[in-house]
Amino acid sequence: MGCGLRKSEVQQKKCDRAIRAALLIQRWYRQYVARLEIRRRCTWNIFQSIEYAGQQDQIKLYNFFGFLMDHFTPASSESKTVTLITHSFIQWERYFCYKSIDVPDSYTGPHLTFPMTFCGVSKLVEAFKHKQQLHARYVLQILGETWRLLRILPNISHLSSCHTKEITICGDLHGQLEDLLLIFYKNGLPSPEKPYVFNGDFVDRGKNSLEILLILFGFLLLYPNDVHLNRGNHEDHIVNLRYGFTKEVLGKYRVHGKKILKLLQKIFSWLPLATVIDHKVLIVHGGISDTTDLNVIARVDRHKVRKTFHFQFIVRNGDAGVPVDFRRRVRSLTHHSSTPSQGPPRRSLHNLHISHQQMNWSVDNELKKRRRLAGFDQSYGERKKPDSDSDPDSEGRLIPSVQMVDLLWSDPMPQNGCIPNEVRGGGCYWGPDVTEEVLGRHNLQLLIRSHECKQDGYEFCHNRRVLTIFSASNYYEVGSNRGAYIRMGADLVPHFVQYQASRTCRELTLRQSVGWTERSALQALRRQLFVHKSDLISAFREFDPNNTGIISPSHWASATESVLKLGLPWRVLRPQLVSSTKNGMVDYQDCKTMKNISDTSLLETMYKNHSNLETIFRIIDTDHSGLISYEEFRQTWKLLSSHLKTEISDDVIANLAQSIDFNKDGSIDINEFMEAFRLVDLSEGILQEIPQ
């Protein structure tokens, strides 16, 4: 576009200069945006890698935890009753009975009557908005009713769309009540005119998981034909031990928390697996695999499925043999991924090998001793699990189901084929060819799933045949992502509504919100570097035979990846994590995350495993008092360390236990113990921000 009629040369010159100036500013703005974008992507990858690596870690011990859960029964009288109960539904009902629980006059929260009414659910929503807590009696009542309802629902719900109303589909909520309230505010409450599908992962991480469940169950009881819940991978009592839901319930309900959790365990196992709209749109939490068969899934006894995560995956079709680096979208061309391995858990430098028999012996013995103390004389091999999730007239034996695990844990990948999902440790990665095949076989046109956080709340892939919907905004950090939900009418075309809870982040400029999230991601990453310090230093040393303390950036990148295995773009991140020498080399001993702290090996191992430790503590703390004795602490540590094939001497443990006993009363408060790890994070000298 010109500047109008040319009156004179001066004018012409001015015009040219104006255009040149505009071009300059525009070029430079676009560079600014591109640089922010790459920082944002790196940050995203960091969060995702760490999240999935954490899940993978947990999965490795999943069976171990499950075993502990089933066999670590205490000597209290209440649980003796539980274990003596035969598989009788009536007796379970008695156990979960709320009738004996009185609601005191001092209770100011909502009172509920049953059957559930619209008034009741609204009261519940209002109460939670105002941060009130529902009395345990009503909690158990709602849960009991929900359990009864879920038992008669099929594995796969079938819905029909309708010209007069749209179906709303929501993804992961993860305990973020603000997001659910925002959805209701924008979209309206569930009703026969406004059916909803909630696609799993209602709990864990956020702090209002229970409130979300109670609201969803309330609506489910009220409108069972118009509210549909699909199970997510976090609707699982063992995952909950680690990711915060168990802690939330026990913290909010000190007296009845355990019962509530037990009832929830049953409810989770009874949640339906999938929803299909008009026989055309499949909605499931994780995804599919090349073996997915909805007819098989419709027939499975979903409440009896035992989720075992074996590392001997079924051989799948496609490019299973190719060592493809399938970590998310971070496909660094320079780092060479090792072939997918089923290696042992990470070891610290100071581990000694315990033979397999020895390990089994020590775990076995501990458990046998415990059981004797608890008063059981049968050996656990013969005994059927008393508190199984099974039904009155069943054998109590749980069945493995790879198909079900696939539905809840799988992720899509861009390449064709179907390979084990090693990042998560369960389910698979499936490609566009599998999508076409499975959808085709079932005569479906679209797969809607959740399970993965997306920047904009939703994302298509596989030629728009797969749609990911994620409803927890600011999932990783304030400003990290928007949440979204889908509205779908009779034409089965998805329409999206996006949002972001929290006023503060909307006011941040793009640059500020990238900066904030980035700072948080880098801190998490530096924590990982700190925690693996010993392994990292020994990996660096392999490239530095003369012990100069200096290695090349390439070597630094590949050594770091070999230890952390996060699949991150280390070269791009390097300036934020380590200091460089003048000629671009890396001084690996001088960087701020590599402080020389003496005798950190135990602390390091502990820190690496603190989530697992917490999980085990909570299993052992069977009366949910939050306290464990020295002896229990010692046994916990020994159990875990033998499972991880590390060895720690008794003296060291005793010293550590004494130092952790903050109030010196002979017992360790679990919360204080976990708090100590938070203190490690915050203490100066360990994590310093490298100035930009």
Binding site: M1, R20, L24, Q26, R35, E37, P414, L510, P569, V572
Partner: protein, 153 residues
């Protein structure tokens, strides 16, 4: 005049990794329409026109569908790197054109009009993002501070 020095092997490895971050398909390539942004992320600031020229003036269809691997990308990056970039002073001088009163400020409103109508036009959202927090209570932008702000990313 800007003198061009060769990229070191380490720099090239860095570029390669960053390049990989833009591959959303998994074939170790990027789309033509991503090339300009990748170059910008790697420290260049070409105009879209100059990038299109280097790509051989692709059609809209080509831009969306054709893909490029790193070995083809690197010489293009070198070519762009050889072009004059613009220094702090260039930018300040560029903005001074609009400094009617010669007092170190330009009117925000005028800047918006210029950016949306001249050169490689920016849209309203882009301009809002650029100018966020830069205008004072009179609607003026102190452009030396403005330039420092943007160059600091």
């Amino acid at each position: 005049m800007h003198s061009h020095t060769e990229f070191t092997p380490d720099q090239i490895e860095d570029f390669k990794e960053a390049f990989g971050l833009f591959d959303r398909v998994g074939d170790s390539q990027v789309a033509y329409n991503q090339v300009a942004d990748i170059m910008r992320a790697l420290g260049q600031n070409p105009t879209n026109k100059s990038v299109n020229k280097i790509l051989g003036n692709p059609s809209a269809d080509d831009l969306a569908n054709k893909r490029l691997n790193f070995d083809a990308f690197l010489p293009m990056l070198k070519e762009v790197d050889a072009q004059p970039k613009g220094t702090y002073d260039d930018y300040v001088e560029g903005l001074r054109v609009f400094d009617k009163e010669g007092n170190g400020t330009v009117m925000g409103a005028e800047l918006r009009i210029v950016l949306s109508t001249l050169g490689e036009k920016m849209n309203e959202q882009e301009i809002d993002a650029l100018m966020a927090g830069q205008e004072d209570e009179n609607g003026s932008v102190h452009y030396e501070a403005f330039v420092k702000h943007i160059m600091s990313v």
